[in-house]
């Protein structure tokens, strides 16, 4: 395992290439449904990376959440745009703004990666996989307040969506 190319590395590079190609695809294809499909390929690649890191729980949650989310995204794309009739314009007036935001995010990420002191475990056996129970304990004890805040936030968004979508009572 220690010398040469391990199977994990091969899988990692395959996943990395898939992720990168599909991530580039998301922002470069003109067809919005294709973009959504590339998006799920990219997210599936991320789930694969999580599997390599032996955090199966996060990998499965990634699939569970984003699988449905991308379907909803496609539905929005179908309902709100005319994706089939003409390709979407990739660049608009806000192009410089977008470039600035992307470069800023890139700089922040690179800065974060460089600033972190990475500890390398001596061997792969030193890495203990985090159990499901540990995650549950952490969410429901230490991080209970952020958890509740996120829950309230999501309920507010959901209520707002229902308010906007429901027809007025006196319309009919």
């Amino acid at each position: 395992m220690e010398d040469g190319v391990t199977a994990t590395q091969v899988v990692f590079w395959i996943l990395a290439v898939v992720m990168l190609i599909s991530a580039i695809g998301v922002v470069t294809v003109g067809n919005i449904v294709y973009a959504a499909l590339f998006f799920i390929a990219s997210l599936a690649g991320v789930a694969g990376i999580y599997l390599i890191l032996t955090v199966e729980f996060i990998a499965l949650v990634q699939l569970l959440i984003y699988g449905s989310a991308v379907v909803i995204l496609i539905l929005f794309a179908l309902m709100l745009t005319r994706a089939r009739e003409r390709p979407q314009a990739l660049f608009g007036r806000s192009r410089p703004l977008g470039i600035a935001a992307a470069l800023g995010l890139l700089a922040a990420l690179i800065g974060g990666i460089v600033a972190t002191t990475w500890t390398t475990p001596e061997s792969s056996s030193a890495i203990q996989p985090v159990g499901l129970q540990a995650i549950g304990d952490a969410i429901f004890t230490i991080w209970i307040v952020p958890f509740i805040i996120v829950g309230v936030l999501l309920s507010i968004a959901l209520d707002g969506a229902i308010m906007l979508a429901s027809p007025d009572e006196d319309d009919n």
Binding site: V33, Y34, I40, E56, L60, V71, R84, L132, Q133
Partner: protein, 402 residues
């Protein structure tokens, strides 16, 4: 575990994996053939017919003949269809279902892999199936396909939520019981859940869970009475209307495989899987037979519901999920949490769940009776349930006659 035990030799990992995959594919195909034949026979009996009789003894080779026809049929792609989405959609619908085989326990030692998060794996992977459906619907460039696909997406997302919540409630009970032996964190593994049901099948502890699981299963599988996405009389087959030949066959195979797998899952979670009922182990070691007997009972139930119940309307379907099933499953999770936190006995859990199920049944009965007596609903398109048509239509006709 399966193959190395059979062969009795150690083999490289990749050969082992390959053999497991081949085993899955073979089993899946045989099960789909058997299910299609069974469905045609059982439905025929319900409708006072005899079903397939000509091909092979009592028609048993009918599915093989159908498969041969599908393979040799021309694979047509509409000229306006989106090439990539159209051609890739069957695989996208098929592969997730295929993967769900991995954590399914057929006996105590026969499974592909015992995943510690098996339940989450099943739902996480099976949920991706709908991406293929939406791809097919959009890629076909057909109004009926798109309508069917949008219905399927709405339905899948709505019924996934009560189903997942009720599984959470079940895992809570399982974790409480497994914690007695010391390892509550194993409750995500389907094998551990089945292993805990030697004396008490979970249907006694979670009858409401069983009901919601079966209803959600029918909806996820687009089985009647929840078959609006593929309703022939409404959307002429739905998202696979433009498919022909083997690509259509792949959708069909995925559908029947998903039916088989979810039924196996239901029998593992609620009926005790490979266990003899109530711990009456007579020591015959017929675990595989027990699994298939329980599975078959559920399959007959599912197929029978196709003949027995009329199709719902799409709004009735959504309302039933969001207004009835979801609140009840949330109440079940909270109730289980309270009972288990205060160390309630098993019979308390079962009694509360049964009371909730009775309340749900009463509510549905009340709603149906009220709708029946109301008489204000106008019948717009397809008559959804017979009882809606009877009373209301009389009044306007009489008024017009005068």
């Amino acid at each position: 575990m399966v193959l190395s035990e059979f062969a009795g030799v150690s083999m490289p990992d990749w050969i082992d994996a390959l053999l497991r995959i081949m085993f899955i594919v073979a089993l899946m195909t045989i099960m789909a053939f058997a299910l299609i034949y069974l469905e045609r026979k059982i439905l025929a009996r319900f409708q006072a017919r005899v079903g397939p009789t000509r091909t092979g003894p009592i028609g048993t080779l009918q599915s093989i003949a159908d498969a041969l026809k599908l393979i040799t049929k021309e694979d047509v792609r509409p000229i306006t269809a989106d090439r990539w989405a159209f051609e890739l959609a069957p695989y996208m619908a098929f592969v997730p279902v295929f993967l769900v085989f991995v954590p399914m326990p057929f006996t105590e030692t026969w499974f592909v892999r015992d995943l510690n998060l098996g339940l989450l794996f099943v739902f996480g992977v099976l949920g991706l199936n709908i991406v293929g459906v939406v791809m097919a619907a959009w890629g076909s460039d057909n109004k009926y396909a798109l309508l069917g696909g949008v219905r399927a997406a709405a339905q899948a997302i709505s019924y996934e939520i009560p189903m997942l919540l009720i599984v959470v409630a079940l895992v809570m009970v399982a974790a409480g019981r497994l914690a007695v032996d010391g390892d509550a964190s194993a409750a995500g593994s389907i094998n551990a859940i089945v292993g805990d049901q030697t004396t008490t099948p979970y249907i006694l502890l979670q009858p409401l869970g069983f009901f919601i699981f079966i209803v959600g299963m029918l909806a996820e599988l687009h089985r009647p009475p929840f078959d609006m996405p593929i309703a022939e009389s409404e959307v002429v087959g739905g998202y696979f209307v433009e498919y022909s030949g083997m690509r259509w066959g792949m959708f069909f195979l995925a559908e029947y495989t998903a039916l088989f797998l979810l039924v196996v899952l239901a029998s593992s979670l609620f009926l005790g899987g490979w266990n003899w009922p109530f711990g009456a182990d007579v020591g015959l070691g017929l675990q595989i037979v027990l699994t298939f007997v329980k599975t078959s009972v559920l399959i007959v139930l599912v197929i029978g519901s196709r003949a027995l119940f009329p199709r719902l309307r799409i709004d009735q379907l959504m309302a039933f999920s969001w207004k009835v099933l979801l609140p009840f499953s949330i109440v079940q999770v909270i109730a289980n949490g309270i009972i288990l936190a205060y160390g309630g006995a098993d019979w308390v859990v079962g009694l509360v769940s049964f009371a909730l199920l009775a309340a749900l049944g009463g509510l549905v009965f009340y709603i149906m009776r009220r709708k029946q007596g109301e008489g204000t609903r106008t019948v717009q398109t397809t008559p959804a349930t017979p009882r809606v048509i009877t009373a209301p239509e009389v009044t306007p006709v009489e008024a017009g006659g005068d």
